[in-house]
């Protein structure tokens, strides 16, 4: 495909994913509200919030890294979405995925957090520093079962290319990785909760604990960029999970439906459970999910 067409398809993908993310955010808050027996916020409210944030007239900046922090975060979100093959079998929407892309994707998953940590640290706000320390600690602990389950999937399919893994799962529901490698599937679902940063693992961004954590000093267009990333990044992670464990999708409606259902798993758990402290959540991640992850890798070899 020519490069102009590729770029156009990439922009179209970004546009679709951003809309899906914003609407998903709004619908999730509506569900939270309805569970609490309130009328709730309007489902198109994230759009208005974005417009309002981008229309601020003065900005206070704390230096170069402060400016680059949200850019790094958005880079990780956009990079993640452009390197995952979205629709299996469609050349247009496979964007920039090529063989060996799983390692790049794992890199992009963590890159944004580091950029955010550096940016918040530059602002000099002590609440940001506390939030960053908590956030990095929690993400480090939550990434261990995630990587273990991914490794077990890669060993099972003997390939690092996500397109091949999706291709190997076609042909019926029982071919999905979730059913052929159930230990890795369960570990991945538990690690999914940690990476979504919702209850019970949302102490990093909790407004009642510390004033909003790392994004305390970010306002205006910076916050707009962060909110845009908040729309893209979780959807990208969910689509990665769908591709690795739930058979990918051959059309947009199927992909959005599967992503929505998987996202609802974290929303349902988030609505029901209260918040963990950082040390409690690290301890939790290093108990059951770690054991299951190790077991899944061992099991691939022997069964």
């Amino acid at each position: 495909m020519s490069w102009t067409l590729r770029i156009l398809y990439a922009l179209l993908t970004l546009f679709i994913i951003m809309n899906v993310g914003l609407l998903l955010n709004g619908v999730t808050r509506k569900i939270y509200a309805r569970v609490n027996r309130r009328v709730g916020i309007r489902f198109y409210q994230p759009y208005i919030d974005l417009v309002k944030n981008y229309s601020l007239t003065n900005l206070v900046t704390h230096g170069v890294m402060f400016y680059l922090g949200p850019i790094f975060r958005l880079t990780s979100g956009v990079g993640l979405i452009l390197f995952i093959p979205l629709i299996y079998g469609s050349q247009g929407f496979s964007n920039f995925s090529f063989s060996g892309d799983a390692v790049l994707i794992l890199y992009f998953l963590f890159f944004g957090t580091l950029g955010m940590a550096l940016g918040s640290g530059e602002s000099g706000q002590p609440h940001s520093a506390i939030g960053v320390a908590r956030g990095l600690a929690q993400v480090t602990a939550a990434e261990i079962p995630l990587v273990l389950s991914f490794l077990s999937v890669f060993i099972q399919y003997q390939s690092l290319s996500i397109t091949e893994i999706v291709g190997a799962q076609q042909g019926g529901i029982l071919q999905w990785t979730f059913f052929t490698n159930p230990l890795a599937g369960i570990t991945a679902l538990l690690a999914f909760l940690g990476s979504m940063m919702r209850s019970p693992f949302d102490v990093v961004l909790a407004p009642q604990e510390i004033p909003i954590g790392p994004p305390t000093e970010y306002h205006g267009a910076f916050l707009g960029v962060l909110q845009t990333n908040r729309a893209i990044f979780p959807v990208a992670k969910t689509i990665l999970y769908v591709n690795l464990f739930f058979g990918g999708a051959v059309s947009w409606p199927a992909l959005i439906l599967k992503a929505f259902l998987l996202y609802m798993w974290s929303v349902v758990v988030g609505t029901v459970f209260p918040r963990y402290r950082v040390d409690q959540s690290i301890r939790w991640f290093l108990k059951v999910p770690l054991a299951l992850g190790l077991l899944s890798i061992v099991c691939i070899h022997f069964c």
Partner: protein, 219 residues
């Protein structure tokens, strides 16, 4: 009486290699620029983009979650299912950097006035102030107190007052509706009025806060 002056006086700090650095906190830790009037203030009529921006600003008001007086107890029911201000797009943010609206809920003693001024100046413009209760209008129940201020609009530019002692949550919602109407019409210009009459506001503030140990404008 001892005050915090020794934090803000010139001093010598030592770098990581033991080198001496002279620090003047007011000049080095804080920015001493004065706020400027924005371009929207000087325009005679709002264009279509300005009207769209004002509509978006009115439909998503982020309140600084700060209750300084008795009015905090009337602001909290707005978050509960009974009055539910979230359906109007009003959300609460914990940091002044991300907030648009500062609700001064009740009387302001001198100590609280310091905090409120710093929080107001740290908010990015366009920003609005709403005064809850009679104490912000004319001193209310504490008009003869040696420690509370009598008129809020001599220290901060106020957009909407909600009268009452304390107003019920329905009155607050009515006041927020009025604020939304003002913003949509382009009258939410508190930040620009503050920048325009900056010396007058500062003179009033410095007249009653006699030990001024803050920068002139807390960016």
């Amino acid at each position: 009486m001892r005050s915090n002056d020794d934090f803000l006086s010139k001093k010598i700090v030592y770098g990581p290699e033991g080198d001496e650095i002279e620090v003047d906190p007011i000049r080095d830790y804080y920015c001493d620029a004065v706020p400027q009037v924005s371009k929207e203030y000087k325009r005679a009529y709002p264009g279509i983009i300005d009207r769209f921006k004002n509509w978006a600003r009115s439909e998503s008001i982020w309140i600084l979650a700060y209750g300084s007086g008795c009015g905090a107890i009337e602001m909290r029911p707005l978050m509960t299912p009974k009055y539910d201000a979230y359906q109007y797009g009003i959300q609460w943010r914990p940091t002044p950097r991300q907030a648009n609206l500062l609700m001064v809920s009740g009387y302001l003693s001198l100590k609280t006035l310091r905090i409120v001024i710093r929080a107001y100046e740290q908010m990015p413009s366009p920003k609005y102030v709403m005064g809850l209760g009679s104490c912000t209008i004319n001193g209310g129940m504490y008009y003869d107190s040696y420690n509370t201020i009598n008129r809020l609009d001599y220290y901060l530019p106020v957009d909407v007052y909600v009268a009452g002692c304390m107003p019920r949550p329905e009155s607050l919602l009515d006041g927020l509706e009025l604020l939304k109407k003002l913003i949509r019409e382009g009258q939410g210009l508190g930040a620009d009025i503050y920048a325009e009459k900056f010396e007058w506001y500062k003179a009033n503030q410095k007249k009653i806060l006699k030990s001024w140990n803050m920068p002139d404008y807390s960016w």
